[in-house]
């Protein structure tokens, strides 16, 4: 009964609203503006609802990682998972840190990540510049070939590459962790697209003024594509952080191992099961600095964006 009353109320208010719009529409421009504002406000609310909904969906696994890291192994293995740990165990974190020699692995990973990111950026910028701005014969054919290599499942390269680095005597060095993956066609493609958005006239003008290519690259192209370069940096760092198969294959001492290798190997129980809560705790520990670095880099993304206003 009360439902019905509610309903009828709604109906009347709707009709009222309708007529109000009609009245407004016929008369006052100022009021139209306010209604536009209301519309805009409603749009904003919808935008926020949408964004927050997505955020919740995105966040959930992260939440899961944290709560799993606080569970006991027995609780984790329950076939019906619990949404919140019945007993909170912080011990997993302590165990993770001591068991996996995280300190050393951490330093290794930072070193490999930084060096490979810097070198990779240099190579990517030079290559993207050549593809975007320089004219030479065979350019398009070469670019097509590069794109084509992107499509081959990389897993098939592993065996051959392993043989190569073995004969180059690179086993158990940082070189073997850095060099084979310096070139990424993905990044070159991405940056080339970005470079091409910068009007060619700027480059030609610089040529006319006698500015050298490198100077132009440094002064104009790089600042203008900073957001993309930072995106690449993030992706590359993540790559170093998450690589597993290759480092596991080519290094066998903690001196050169990377963090994921430590993560996977350290928590195998005598029965061959992996103690996932401890592993999750380790993943959380390892993710934290990455997360901070990411926050830090985001400022630069904003700066890059504001600087790119000069173009055109």
């Amino acid at each position: 009964m009360s439902d019905k009353i509610e309903n009828s109320k709604n109906v009347t208010s709707e009709t009222k609203g309708d007529s109000a719009i009609r009245v407004m529409g016929s008369r006052d421009i100022n009021k139209l503006r306010t209604s536009a504002k209301i519309g805009k406000g409603a749009g904003m609310v919808l935008t926020y609802i949408f964004l927050i909904f997505i955020a919740v969906v995105v966040l959930f696994p992260f939440y899961w990682m944290i709560i799993s890291s606080l569970k006991t192994l027995d609780e984790y293995k329950l076939s019906v998972p619990t949404l919140f740990p019945e007993t909170i165990v912080f011990g997993n974190y302590a165990e993770a840190f001591t068991q996996a020699n995280l300190g050393r692995l951490f330093l290794n990973t930072v070193y490999v990540g930084l060096v490979s990111t810097i070198l990779s950026l240099v190579i990517t910028v030079l290559s993207a510049f050549a593809f975007a701005r320089l004219e030479f014969k065979g350019k398009n054919a070469l670019f097509a070939v590069l794109l084509a290599t992107m499509m081959i499942p990389g897993e098939l390269f592993t065996i051959t590459n392993y043989q190569t680095v073995f004969y180059l005597n690179w086993m158990n060095t940082f070189t073997v962790l850095i060099v084979p993956f310096l070139v990424s066609v993905f990044y070159i493609y991405l940056l080339k697209q970005n470079f091409m958005q910068i009007p060619n006239e700027l480059y030609l003008a610089a040529k006319v003024d006698g500015t050298s290519d490198l100077k132009y690259l440094w002064r104009v192209m790089i600042p203008l594509s900073l957001p993309t370069l930072i995106s690449i940096t993030i992706l590359k760092m993540m790559g170093a952080w998450n690589s597993y198969v290759w480092p596991n294959l080519v290094t066998d001492s903690d001196e050169y191992r990377l963090i994921t290798n430590g993560l996977r190997n350290a928590f195998v129980e005598s029965t061959g099961d992996v103690n996932i809560p401890v592993q999750m705790a380790a993943v959380a520990i390892v993710s934290a600095p990455l997360f901070l670095v990411f926050l830090f880099l985001r400022k630069y993304i904003m700066k890059g964006v504001s600087r790119s206003g000069i173009k055109g």
Binding site: D74, K77, L78, S79, Q99, F136, K137, G138, T158, I159, Y162, Q163, T164, F166, Y167, M171, N248, L249, D252, R264, N265, A266, F267, V268, E269, S270, T271, G272
Partner: protein, 473 residues
């Protein structure tokens, strides 16, 4: 344009040729192994899956004692993730001759390495009577004495010879089998007797389902072990290391159809489940609280995982006591149980001294009572040799056996050791791991599709044929 292209092509060709030359295949040759370790400096590597916290210290102690005898042999050991990781790493390393000296292995892995003829046959080394002098002045023969060979548990030892060519490739390191864990408290309260045959098991499942309708009386952890063990118990063909009528895969036969049909009907009645079908370890169902949906009262799983089968204390008391017995049999007079757990194999190397040194270490680890005893205590696996039972400390360990969390590892080790005559060995060949995977999947899909199939036997036959096709492909 043409000139540049031709330059690129030339460079590419040069590199290819260079690399091809560099990658010239490194053939692995059968070395002559009639000599002995000459006391020279060698470094040998050992790949395993032992965790750094509880098992590596045990290995470290043993290596220290080994080094007192052979100080010039440096042993570098390394945990390479789990068993599959060990296999994958060695497989890749074999392509360039970078394989380790010794590795943890399962028969399937050895079959794979042996496609490249990379594993050292141990027959010559075992039979060698050449003497070596140890650092303390004492001597030992390179080979194994009669007594030492007889000391290995036969079923475990025979696994090393299951490769179809009659040669010995592995020695057992530490082993486990499947045992039946049952809820002793529940069995005693309801006056149930523990099953020794599958027929008794069938009746028992029906009884338990009557007592506790919400329960799934039996959980069997591994489908593929179940299938292979049933083949052994019925004496029906599974696979063969050498081809019979052009195939290695012999499991598509009527006996096997029949037992799969029987167990699938159990599954449909809610009497049994497996790890994959239930989506969780069967030990979890076994440990569930009384009356909880899907609680099981029996669980068949690895003897090395005993600690996971015993429930934790609730309010200072154990919810129930666990009993452990051998798994049910088709013919109790001729029992068959699976043998699992790592063996070790030695890889071919250019320097025969490395092979000799590796052999000495393998021999030491698999015959040393102290190591075998302490490793068993730390890991839950049972020793590969019999005279460990005479060891005082190990005896003490076995005496601590009981049906609760604290003593269950010892209890399962005890039950495991009592079955030394029952271990069977299934043949290993290139493709045997595929067969293992396929029969496991076969069990799953037969169980899963049983209830809704109009013609159940036809469905089962179809799944068998599909599994054979996958194996043969």
């Amino acid at each position: 344009m043409k000139r540049i292209l031709s330059i690129i092509l030339a460079v590419a060709m040069c590199m290819s040729v260079l690399l091809l030359a560099g990658c010239g295949r490194k053939k692995i040759a059968d070395a002559d192994l009639s000599g002995a370790y000459d006391g020279s400096e060698v470094t040998i590597t050992f790949y395993h899956t032992m965790s750094a916290t509880n098992l590596q210290p045990v290995l470290g102690d043993a290596i220290a004692r080994f080094n007192e005898l052979y100080p010039k042999i440096t042993v570098e050991h390394k945990q390479v993730g789990d068993y599959d990781a060990v296999r994958n790493q060695i497989k890749t390393e074999l392509t360039v001759g970078g394989q380790p000296n010794i590795a943890y292995c399962y028969p399937d892995h050895v079959a794979l390495y042996n496609v490249a003829k990379a594993v050292v046959p141990l027959d010559d080394l075992m039979a060698s009577t050449v003497e070596v002098t140890r650092a303390d002045g004492t001597k030992e023969i390179m080979g194994l004495t009669e007594e030492q060979i007889g000391n290995y548990i036969e079923g475990f030892f025979n696994e090393g010879r299951a490769f179809g060519d009659g040669k010995m490739y592995t020695l057992p390191f530490s082993k486990s089998t499947e045992v039946l864990y049952y809820n002793k408290t529940f069995f005693e309260a309801n006056n149930l007797s523990v099953p020794t045959t599958w027929d008794e098991m069938e009746a028992l499942c029906e009884t338990i389902k009557g007592i506790a309708p919400n329960s799934t009386p039996l959980g069997y952890d591994s489908e593929n072990n179940w299938f292979i063990t049933m083949c052994e118990q019925y004496g029906s063909p599974y696979t063969s290391a050498t081809k019979v009528d052009g195939t290695n895969y012999l499991f598509d036969n009527e006996t096997n159809h029949a037992f799969v049909e029987k167990f699938a009907s159990w599954y449909a009645k809610g009497w049994v489940t497996t790890k994959e079908l239930s989506g969780g370890y069967t030990s979890d169902a076994f440990k569930k609280a009384e009356g909880e949906l899907g609680k099981s009262y029996m669980s068949i799983g690895s003897s090395a995982g005993a600690v996971h089968q015993a429930p934790d204390q609730v309010n200072g008391e154990y919810p129930f006591e666990v009993g452990i017995v051998p798994i049910p049999q088709v013919d109790p007079a001729n029992p068959k149980v699976i043998s699992q757990g790592p063996s070790v194999c030695i890889f071919q190397q250019e320097n025969p001294q490395e092979v000799y040194a590796s052999w000495l270490l393998v021999k030491f680890l698999t015959t040393d009572v102290e190591f075998q005893a302490s490793f068993s205590e730390a890991s839950g696996y049972v020793p590969a040799i019999k005279n460990v039972n005479d060891d005082e400390i190990y005896k003490e360990f076995l005496d601590s056996a009981d049906g609760f969390k604290t003593g269950i590892a010892a209890y399962s080790a005890k039950v495991c050791l009592e079955q030394e005559k029952a271990y069977y060995v299934s043949p290993a060949f290139n493709g045997s791991s595929t067969a293992r995977d396929e029969v496991g999947l076969l069990m799953q899909s037969c169980f899963s599709n049983y209830e809704n199939a109009a013609d159940k036997m036809a469905m089962i036959k179809e799944k068998f044929a599909a599994a054979i096709e996958e194996c043969e492909y």
